[in-house]
């Protein structure tokens, strides 16, 4: 049987109300101690009725009444609740405007104190965006930064997935309750995050649906938890620009990779660069030194012995990705020999196969 103290109960009940974060902050500022909201019903009634409506007040009371059941459920689901008044509430987040009153956490909560960087981007990355997100995230993870992202499709999922692949912890900030896996196709990724020492957090109660207005609010938590925000690619109306906005407000570092000026998928990120030239980064080291982190020396990879043709292929791939037919012209061997050669090189981590029979060098 779980039971929360008055402060926690009051904050949870308050956080569950369907009113704006600003209102919630206001209500909190009217009391000396959050516990008063429960301990002093008269004052509570007065404040809530003044700030909100009857319906909200009644809702608040019903939440307080059901608090034991809520606490039990949270315990059963292995969800930890950290409130603004708890000591283990992340300091980074405490300072931001409209800091979330409670955080529902599942997984390794120790991550909240670690140095973190947010990786954001479009939900529909181009091949370029995918590659940049993957490469940079990998470097961040290897430098022991905790990667924070929003679990959305596209860049967010790529960032989380890279961390899972690298066996590094990552934090996913949900725009829904923790029991709602949105998008649903990321269910496997979700269990991957948790099993690799990661953490998922949300300011919403367990079963809250992913409503569209949750996501801009969620973005302030992503940037709030991090020391810097990295953006690989964003179209003109991308939600990741909101995160950049939050980060600016919160005084976080911003790192943006320039994109093709003809590509609509990079319009937003290029706009950001125009207004903040200092945000421009070209390598993951740029980001790391901007945060004062130094990349660990890469593990010396086993030297790979390439034969003459393979070396020729690698040389020509320096100029960019090439199609199988083009490689065939360079190698001047049979398709079968080339296939098996390319597969061997891919398995050694020298090259990578892209969609459409294109091949590219790995970094």
């Amino acid at each position: 049987m779980a039971k929360f103290d008055l402060t926690k109960s009051a904050l949870i009940a308050l956080s569950m109300l369907e009113i704006s974060n600003k209102k919630k902050e206001k209500i909190l500022s009217c009391v000396n101690e959050p516990s008063e909201l429960i301990a002093n019903p008269k004052k509570c009634k007065e404040i809530l009725l003044k700030q909100t409506t009857d319906a909200v007040y009644i809702e608040f009371l019903s939440f307080v009444e059901r608090m034991e059941a809520i606490a039990n459920r949270l315990q059963n689901e292995d969800v930890e609740v950290i409130t603004l008044f708890d000591e283990n509430y992340p300091n980074n987040l405490r300072d931001i405007i409209e800091a979330p009153i409670v955080l529902y956490c599942k997984g390794n909560t120790a991550l909240l104190d670690k140095r973190a960087i947010a990786v954001v981007g479009t939900r529909r990355p181009t091949r370029y965006g995918q590659k940049i997100t993957e490469e940079f995230t990998r470097e961040f993870a290897r430098a022991d930064l905790v990667v924070v992202s929003g679990f959305a499709r596209g860049s967010d999922s790529i960032a989380h997935r890279v961390c899972v692949e690298e066996n590094c912890p990552t934090i996913a900030v949900f725009g829904s309750g923790l029991n709602v896996c949105y998008p649903a196709e990321n269910r496997e990724l979700l269990s991957g995050i948790l099993s690799h020492g990661g953490l998922i957090i949300s300011e919403y109660a367990l079963d809250v649906k992913p409503l569209s207005y949750h996501f801009p609010d969620r973005n302030r938590i992503i940037s709030g938890l991090s020391e810097g925000v990295f953006l690989a690619e964003a179209s003109e109306k991308s939600g990741s620009l909101i995160t950049i906005g939050c980060a600016t407000e919160q005084g976080r570092e911003i790192f943006v990779v320039p994109g093709n000026i003809n590509s609509p998928a990079s319009e937003g990120s290029n706009q950001v660069l125009r207004s903040m030239q200092g945000a421009l980064v070209l390598t993951a080291e740029d980001v790391l030194s901007g945060l004062g982190v130094y990349a660990k020396k890469p593990v010396q990879e086993q030297a790979i012995q390439l034969n003459f043709i393979e070396q020729q292929l690698v040389d020509s791939l320096y100029e960019g990705d090439l199609h199988f037919e083009e490689l065939l012209n360079i190698a001047k061997c049979s398709a079968s020999e080339l296939s098996s050669m390319l597969m061997n090189m891919e398995l050694c981590g020298v090259i990578e196969k892209l969609a459409g029979n294109y091949f590219v060098l790995c970094k």
Partner: protein
Amino acid sequence: MLAKVKSFALDGLLGYPIDVEMDINSGLPSFEMVGLASTATKESKERIRSAVKNSGFMYPTKRITINLAPADTKKEGPSFDLAIAVAMLIASGQLLSANYKDFIFLGELSLDGTLRHINGVMPIIISAMQAGYKKFVLSDDNAKEASYVEGIEAYSFQNLKGVAEFLNGASAQMLVQNSFEASRNAHGYGVDFADVKGQSTAKRALEIAVSGGHNIIMIGPPGAGKTMLAKCVPTIMPEMTFEEAIEVTKVHSIAGTLDENIGIVTTRPFRSPHHTTTVPALIGGGSKAKPGEVSLANHGVLFLDEMPEYSRYALETLRQPLEDRVVSVSRMVRTVEYPANFMLVASMNPCPCGNYGSKTQICRCSVQQIHSYLSKLSGPLLDRIDLQIEVDSVSYDEFRTQRVEESSAKIKERTDHAREIQRERFKDDTILTNAEMNEKHLKKYCQIDENGERLLQKAFERLNLSARGTTRILKVARTIADLEGSEDIKNTHLAEAIQYRQLDRKYNG
């Protein structure tokens, strides 16, 4: 007077003798047909009346009773017309010779007495021979088809009058046996791999697929040339043997898709049913239990263009023929078995809009759309497709290059050689190709050394391959080794085989 004439009916691919019995009695003029005749068969009454009159004979104005024995099987189609007409001439005393008893009569009549083509002559003749009948009378239109069967005594005629004269003793030319080899050389496929520019990976994969009898799926954007590649597949398959040709012809003869000018199927069939096809059309069925596309593609290629567009139900029904290489079509009154030993060549787009992963086009599909598109192909179905390759559009430059592409004949030499090796290897087993290997065969013939194991291990880790692909990779590697004439599966073979597991790679989220 009573007359009894022999004809043949078909149940699936097997024929059984039919006795056409006719009795003419005095009484009110009538024409009664008993013996479970279908509508088309019953309608022969009108055709026969006109045909008999127009051939210069008298139609008896008496009470006519016809029995098609055995009386408990359903008789379909107009193929008994000739037999009934001959029976009538005998029963009415207009034909006095008794030598009709040795013959089997097959043919439909038109109103002017001309004999018309019927379906299923090849399987009927072959079944009849097995039952001990040797002499046949049939239409000129069916002559070509019948002429490929060895050891029969068949006569073909243009009309009913000719048949009657022949039975009365006039001389007629017996059908001359046609040579299958000669017709085969006269008819080609009309396409050739030399016409396909570029696409080296796809061509190589198809060569492997044909060599080992593997099924293959090509993934690529619209306009990449998947259909063209698929059409070329039969050109590198081994030449059809006479036995295979007969088997194929039997099915095509029943379905009525046989070219009567050639009379036998000389080229490997290439069937590409449209994706709106119904299950009975694909598998076989209908009230007549007709052969479906899978049986028409027997010994050839079944090409499913845009595979995920087919109904899920239709795709799932393919699993059984892919496994057993025969289909049994069960209807309430009967169960018929048709051969379905085909090579499956499928194609699909990488996503519903077709541009996923394209370098130049933007894909407009959402991740769920791509997901649901790909998940139309169930795991068990994909398990039966050994090679999965990516095909992409040929650039303008490639169209223009003067590079001479390899001809089908040249590729065929290699595939034939690989098949030869397999035949030798499997001579004590009951299978013919690498694709048919089961667990036991895999253990025996697909040993890989430590290096190979390590390579596979690495592939699984690096490429996120799913484990169910292992046996497929081994089988394909075996075929690649055979193509090279190598006894062992080397690492290069394995590496190439892994390249052909495109769908096992995880798509980016």
